[in-house]
Symmetry: C2
Subunit: 154 residues, 2 copies
């Protein structure tokens, strides 16, 4: 049965509350929908899974990919209780999901100390100006692997 | 025994080649080092694990967190065969790793069709101008979970 976008979003929001009540991590939830069916759902589990990447969106996307037996989520729609952080945005782009509905904005999140603006700021900075130092090393040796890949796939 | 930065980077590059030869995914490798010891290593496994987030850096970081039994990687150094994509950068910031050494630049990667510039571009765009549509929905209901979190933790 086709449900409304509000229905799927309410499930994502309910998952955020569930995760909070289960002390699973921070209060964020997400669902992945394909062909009007929820194929995966998750809440943030960073602190309980000891995994800094276990944001709700990423856990839900991993489950959805497992279910579809595919590393892409084309034609899938992601409903998330909050605007995705840059890590999750990157994952969404790699997954080629079709569309994202989000509840809270990043500003709402920041008001409750869930602030990812520092990551957006860092991404826009030259490497030399970043808080985490990035240093290039052994570029020539590293490029050789790409060359081998190119030959292999030519 | 303390090894040089070049030693750890060569291991990351060797992992990129190993992954390619094992047909595990794309040719990227990474290691996580703490107190002069490699605590985790990985190559890209996106296509074989059916996980769009299984970039070398993220797989290695998840393994390192599991080993340390912690969701943060403070005092850890990440050596990666290629400049991290925005998703991995986000994960690195959330992990609070200390520093990153990388081999190839994103331009080297783009020359071999491993191009993540489109993600940087999208992150900088207003939501309405993005290729993947982002739509806000049910903000008031979503914010209520943050309010409950705030009360719980006040």
């Amino acid at each position: 049965m086709k449900e409304t976008n509000e229905f799927y979003m309410e499930r994502a929001i309910a998952l955020a509350a569930e995760g909070m009540n289960a002390d699973a991590g921070r209060p964020f939830g997400a669902v992945v929908v394909k062909d009007d069916e929820i194929i995966a759902e998750a809440y943030n589990q960073v602190t309980t899974m000891n995994d800094p990447t276990a944001h709700a969106e990423i856990v839900a996307m991993r489950k959805a990919c497992e279910k579809l037996n595919n590393f892409e989520l084309r034609d899938c729609i992601i409903y998330t209780s909050c605007e995705p952080c840059p890590m999750c945005l990157g994952a969404i782009y790699w997954s080629q999901a079709k569309m994202v509905y989000y509840g809270c904005s990043r500003k709402d999140a920041a008001a409750y100390n869930f602030d990812d603006q520092f990551i957006y700021d860092e991404l826009d900075r030259d490497m030399k100006d970043r808080n985490i130092q990035f240093v290039q090393l052994a570029q020539k040796k590293a490029v050789k692997v790409f060359e081998a890949w190119g030959q292999r796939n030519s």
